[in-house]
Symmetry: C2
Subunit: 497 residues, 2 copies
């Protein structure tokens, strides 16, 4: 059984991620990305942008701020409603989320509970403080937004955004005009979000500062969805692993088998699924879309499926992203509160657009790559998608003499502009392989004595440890073919025979 | 005379940037980047990373958090010292930075003033409130960090980082080990920083939330600087525009003419300067390095030059980045406060590394591109570096019939993966040119009736509006050559003759 700690230990030691401010004892709910984590993160972001902005030329990135004025979060409903029920141990003064304690006891979702339900449930289950055994206070609301004071008077309030979405909604009106009123319009952003979690836990899964990638698509149903329908028809036969609310288990079905859902929704569901299988290279047995029940989903979400990954380190299925049909709730709220029209002109008069939200927790997505990619059998190796790997290529001299370091250095220099590549000369070849296996270097290249004669090098495959011999002049093309998946390692092996 | 408002108006209308939450009246000190601003920002970041991480293979990106624990900002000295002197109008209750009001009156820097100096200066100058004419209170300290409360008790404090640097210093120890103790070590980050400015102003110049790109280079002087010296020797003859503290005016000198400064400093000064001339394409008459006086610079900065740009919209020279030799101050502070050793092993025993900091205010750098690039003579056009331009290429059909839209669409599709490109069919050709000139599209491509016959198109140059005719099959290569600066537009013109 793989534990969080197995992966975290590698991540800390090798430079992926660790608790923030660890020299000061570490701060709960905060993690920093080190030099390898930063590379993985940047690659994930780039692939996400390429894929989702590539869906339509009227989809664009924008960058709103982290700090949001009070008015925005009031209009969105977060000031009044963005709270969790908190219970306090009367003996040791520790705070807990009531629903989490109930879930741990019963194994059933308790997020839907109100104060009364929770109070009864805690009594019935006879729950006591997991730290000291003390009794609990009654549940109380705790708003999860971080508040800041703006300017010198201390009277003006703002919040750190608890989601990136609101920064997009408040800019819809201006972008709609700047982009010359073309619909549907997609506005995406990638950035931080902040939630003052009562008890941060599960490594990067419940952080107080986390990263989101969101694409908000604005359209008027019945008017702008022809475009989605056409695109949907091309993929309606695709298979996805689905858990409908009324089903006992998840199963693979065709998109068109869910014809109670509108094409605009199914199209984006199919595309998100494809991102997980084709770009993040996760196996369809490890991912599913789960439909949320009425109790679970927010009242403004008319349709809500979460993309879940089956984590080995986290006891099974956990949400890493979601597809939310939010209707016209958001723009209506901002129209009412700001007194600025959010409507668009259509052949059928002025209409307030609806929103489909594609929302990704980036830290969770990266953790899913680490969880599913980590192998610790005979050797420890990390199977990352080659186009996202923190390090794609490592170049070694077989020995540290006779011109091999210089030759390998030359090759490293040639590859630098096209790949995430490192040059290593210290330790035995075996140790260098082991170090690179552990961080998921897709290909290790060794320069040996033969290289000086025949201008060719050895490429070793991370997954199989098999090796092929390639001419230096062909090296760049071979590596590109392998990394982009146009060529398989086996094909090169056969050519060797 | 170009005003902020000229550029801001274009930026708002076309999608570069505008006040955050403008539908709620806008929030002072906050700006959002729209779809064109986001492209410019992302390109700037990519070029910055390429250039500065390219200086050495042991320079790496990391991503620390925005929220910093109290302990970190206490150790760095920000809790006690990161404050500005604030004065309040006793009549209308407005707050001001005292140094700014004095500077506006006298034209001289007043940032160095303590409470007593400021009090006297305000009395001597007989300053009164610019809003209502009222009298001022005595100057008081105002800490500019945004404070947040961590967790449910409300007792634990954190801060939004006022600079990205501290997040790097607290991770030095772990990265030094993860990177197998190679020195010098460079750790860079790009991200937000937050300062609760008393009176935000000058558009993006004094924002409450802003973007920084910083490279912190760790080395032990006398032990690890051989590498810098060698590299410095290659560039010591380069000319830079410099204003030394004791000089009346700035002048162009060779790096080696400043031989009172250490080679490790001059090397990075030269490289920063090159970034401004070669990557950001600013003219050396518009940039200079200004040495700060003892009064101006922080006590831990042994050497401090700011890179300043001569802004038309902001009345002259303003700082956009800085090069700070911070000595071993930062790591020493964190070693003392955390009780964790920050030293590295050298042939001369254990030593605490020193830091050279290359610090860039990204918003200011982008504003310098807009300010220096904006031309409003006969036509409005924006001269952005082609590799950074928000839009590099626009493709038009001459008319909206006879297959020209389809043909131009084909060409657009071919160019999409290599350039930031748009396809436009609405409005007259003249209007399309004007729109693209305004946002700085480097090249406009027109598909006309001849295209259907001879498979060639027209490319129009932003700067000169001159046109060349190019075969479609050569189009991608020609555009790449032009954008990367390997080819000049004139060379193609000549070929036309």
């Amino acid at each position: 059984m793989l534990e969080n700690e197995d992966i975290l230990s590698m991540c800390k030691r090798r430079g992926f991620l660790w608790r923030s401010a660890e020299i000061y004892g570490g701060e709960a709910g905060f993690y920093d990305y080190g030099h390898l984590g930063a590379k993985l993160l940047d690659s994930w972001k780039r692939k996400w942008k390429e894929y989702f902005l590539g869906l339509d030329e009227n989809y664009h990135m924008i960058y709103p701020n982290n700090i949001m004025p009070y008015s925005v979060m009031e209009a969105s409903g977060h000031v009044d409603h963005f709270s969790d029920l908190m219970i306090r141990c009367k003996r040791c003064d520790s705070y807990f989320r009531g629903d989490h304690l109930i879930e741990e006891e019963t194994g059933e979702n308790a997020e839907w509970m109100g104060k009364e339900d929770m109070k009864k449930s805690i009594q019935n289950l006879d729950l006591s403080c997991p730290d000291c055994g003390g009794h609990f206070s009654e549940p109380e609301d705790f708003n999860m937004m971080f508040q800041v004071s703006l300017g010198p008077t201390g009277q003006k309030k703002g919040f750190l955004r608890p989601e990136t979405a609101q920064g997009i909604y408040i800019n819809f009106r201006r972008e709609y005009r700047a982009l010359r009123k073309q619909m549907p319009l997609g506005l995406a952003t990638i950035g931080s979000a902040f939630r003052n979690e009562i008890s941060p836990r599960q490594v990067v899964f419940r952080k107080r500062e986390f990263l989101q990638a969101e694409l908000q698509i604005f359209f008027v149903p019945g008017i702008h969805d022809e475009k989605f329908e056409k695109k949907y028809q091309k993929i309606e036969d695709e298979q996805v692993n689905i858990k409908r609310e009324t089903w006992d288990e998840s199963k693979e079905v065709k998109l068109k088998d869910m014809d109670d859902l509108p094409p605009f929704y199914l199209y984006h569901l199919g595309k998100m699924y494809e991102f997980y299988t084709d770009v993040m290279k996760l196996s369809s047995k490890d991912i599913r879309f789960r439909e949320l029940s009425e109790d679970e989903k927010a009242f403004y979400n008319k349709i809500h499926f979460d993309l879940e990954v089956d984590f080995e380190t986290l006891n099974g299925w956990k949400e890493v992203s979601g597809l939310h049909y939010r209707s016209d709730y958001d723009l209506k709220q901002h129209q009412e509160n700001s007194n600025q029209s959010m409507s668009v002109s259509t052949d059928d008069g002025k209409k307030i657009p609806h929103v489909i939200e594609l929302s990704f927790g980036i830290d969770r997505n990266l953790w899913s790559l680490l969880d599913k990619g980590y192998n610790d059998g005979d050797r420890v190796w990390l199977d990352l998608p080659k186009e996202m790997a923190a390090r794609q290529v490592a170049v070694f001299p077989l020995v540290r003499k006779d011109g091999l370091p210089e030759k390998s250095r030359e090759i490293f220099t040639k590859l630098r502009s096209d790949f995430r590549v490192a040059w290593e000369k210290s330790g035995s070849i075996g140790k260098r392989y082991a170090r690179n296996d552990e961080i998921g270097t897709s290909y290790c290249i060794t320069v040996d004595y033969d290289t000086l004669e025949d201008e060719s090098v050895t490429i070793r495959d991370l997954k199989t440890t098999e090796q092929i011999r390639v001419k230096i002049e062909e090296l760049k093309d071979v590596l590109k073919g392998l990394i982009q998946g146009r060529k398989k390692f086996e094909d090169h092996l056969e050519r060797e025979d």
